[in-house]
Symmetry: C2
Subunit: 414 residues, 2 copies
């Protein structure tokens, strides 16, 4: 049974500011599902000697080593050579992968060249996983009692091979492993420091349980881990105790999930609809809601009313309100929410107007001031916040808090 | 002079699927500006022994070591202890940071607790950088001829201290360093493999120049690096040669930049305006355009017309077109673009309608089929694409290609 893994991410672009490394998050999340902890991610450039030393070092610590990137057609793709050197195995042409590559190129109307054919080269003796989303296949090399897994760098190809081939294989390998016994609380609207304070004052957690936190804009995930043989009942009791101490109004879930996911499930189940009217978030809320398949079941559409004139024309906000209250005001948020609710014919609507910065703030209306309104079948609620941070953080916090309020409305009026 | 650095990112959340590590990209990009290469990012959990071994290993390779995360108030914040152990220095309370912390808590109406006060603990002898965006300060420890830089984990705090304190300090440290001499081509609409093929056929690059690539959805960045003493003139000539070989229609910039940035600059300079009408991208295009400060100068607003009825009501798409052609069709894209252009009173409008999947595809209209229309003062152009990949990739490619087409319109009709 394998319980620990490491990842080596290769690619100069991951270290030069051009790309974010999303492999570690994706792999960590998937491995967690099969009871394996990702212990380390080492991101290095496409330098064969460096990659070799990373692979050798990882092999002294764990028996499952993922290496991403560097399997493409260009001369800076050297991962295969590094693994060949470490394992002492030759590189050979994989005929089925080559045939598949020719087939792909033919379908795309492109010619096959020696550079492209390099993508069908594999380590001798590797198990090959064909790539559902691209040219270079994944490879699994069993060597010296360890597994070396080579996956292509483009995130969609990495994910496709991981889900199609690697996870089923790991599930097989680890069949019979006990499920991870942690408990989770997802919170929104209260700071990590405040949660820690409240736990300290209440002498939480009890013996036999350990807390861990993960905070991101507006959200804190709290995990309760058993120490030793703590019973499932004790874990459940501690979870309920934690909800009480944190404040049930801040807890939106007892499993790892997102507010967008919860709202999608709930609205779809009820057959109700949602629309958005956004100013300072510029489409962010609509984009996140439609990021998941099936969102058309409840999401009807949205209006990004960036200019004041658009708030009047498309949402029916009154020119008088805009003139007397200003675009960033409770009254405008309310009119935006009612306007989009009526014009798009939906059950619920969310509207936000605020100052995301860096400019545009004043003493009375500082950067970070956001009004968010939730239009429901029974009326409109409006909230005022002053969020800290830069433009991106303010937009992100606006998104989280607004979804939390809609979730509270749905839950309270269930 | 310092030319190389490493980063150690700490935090269990970065390896368990809960957060993406954005520090490496941000740090790599900023260090690049001051002529320093980020050679490695090692992401590890909040485990003091592991962090200590990573710091020691990094110190054998480079003289500038960044360590992010683990400076917060909770019991899993152990970075400070790890650095103290490696450098053999005690941890002390930093009085100005503590005073600042008390001031912050007072402003926020929160009580100060022993847990919170931990955030003002620092390594003895460190230079302290107060945190403009949060509680824990940054620290710089000069030890054994190397610099250890401790920065908080929350991305906005990491970025704030980096920009306010670390970069000016590094610029000072490295004043007099020669500028990096690479040349860049940014392309959209042609695959990395195709570029490699064309370069190979044309025997490009010439001697004394090395190519490197970074591909992401729809885009390829090509870099030309001098080998040895290659002259600036030779680099310039190679850059122009590369543009010719790749095809000038695919090259949108000769510096590292984004299409959104270019469009913002161009439209603002011309005093022209833009609006969006989105179906399959669900607000993604509007969100990206408004992600940067100053976007209100040219972006008026957008309509996310997810349901067909919304396409009629808010964009004036004719019910007959929807019935005969279907929502994913050239005609609907054209009517969406004209509709939003007229209703929002803008010079340019972009409209997209497509099938992002995973369901909803057919033989005639497969998943990935996208029509994008660009309404200009002189008329509407429409494009048909079938994009590969999953939902997220299809949405991302739609965004890139649509912006590229708008950019081509603007450039050609300049």
């Amino acid at each position: 049974m394998i319980q620990q893994a490491e990842l080596i991410s290769t690619g100069a672009e991951l270290l030069s500011g051009r790309s974010v490394n999303t492999h570690a998050r994706l792999l960590g999340e998937r491995l967690d599902q099969v009871g394996i902890s990702l212990l380390r991610d080492t991101t290095v450039p496409d330098d064969q000697a460096v990659i070799e030393s990373c692979i050798s070092a990882a092999a002294t610590r764990v028996k499952l080593i993922f290496i991403s990137g560097g399997l493409g057609p260009t001369n800076d793709d050297v991962t295969r050579d590094a693994v060949a050197a470490v394992t002492g195995r030759p590189i050979v042409m994989h005929q089925p992968a080559l045939a598949e590559l020719h087939e792909r190129m033919k379908r795309a109307g492109r010619s096959i060249t020696p550079a492209r054919e390099r993508q069908a080269l594999v380590i001798d003796g590797a198990s090959i996983w064909l790539n559902p989303a691209g040219a270079a296949p994944g490879e699994c090399i069993e060597h010296d009692d360890a597994y070396f897994i080579l996956l292509p760098g483009p995130p969609n190809e990495f994910e496709a091979i991981l889900d199609t081939h690697v996870l089923p294989w790991l599930q097989q390998l680890n069949s019979g492993a006990p499920a991870l016994r942690k408990r989770v609380l997802m919170t929104c609207g209260t700071a990590e420091g405040d949660i820690v304070d409240r736990f300290e004052k209440s002498n939480f957690p009890p013996a036999g349980i350990e807390t861990a936190y993960c905070a991101s804009a507006g959200r804190v995930e709290i995990r309760l881990h058993p120490i030793g043989g703590t019973s499932d009942d004790a874990l459940d009791a501690a979870q309920e105790e934690a909800v009480r101490i944190v404040g049930p109004e801040f807890v939106y879930a007892r499993e790892r999930t997102s507010l967008a996911e919860l709202l999608a499930r709930e609205l779809t189940a009820r057959g109700q609809t949602l629309a958005t009217a956004e100013s300072c978030t510029g489409g962010l809320i609509a984009e996140r809601l439609t990021d998941r398949p099936g969102s058309s079941a409840y999401f009807r559409g949205g209006i990004v009313a960036y200019a004041d004139e658009i708030k009047q024309r498309l949402l029916g906000v009154s020119p008088e309100t805009l003139a007397t209250e200003g675009a960033v005001s409770e009254q405008v948020a309310r009119e935006m929410a009612s306007g989009v609710q009526a014009r798009l014919g939906v059950d619920y609507a969310i509207a936000v107007t605020g100052i995301a910065g860096p400019s545009g703030g004043s003493a009375e209306k500082p950067v970070g001031l956001v009004f968010s309104a939730i239009a429901q079948p029974t009326g409109v609620d409006c909230y005022r916040d002053v969020f800290p941070g830069n433009r991106r953080t303010i937009r992100e916090l606006t998104y989280q808090y607004t979804l939390m309020r809609l979730w509270q409305c749905l839950r309270d009026k269930a």
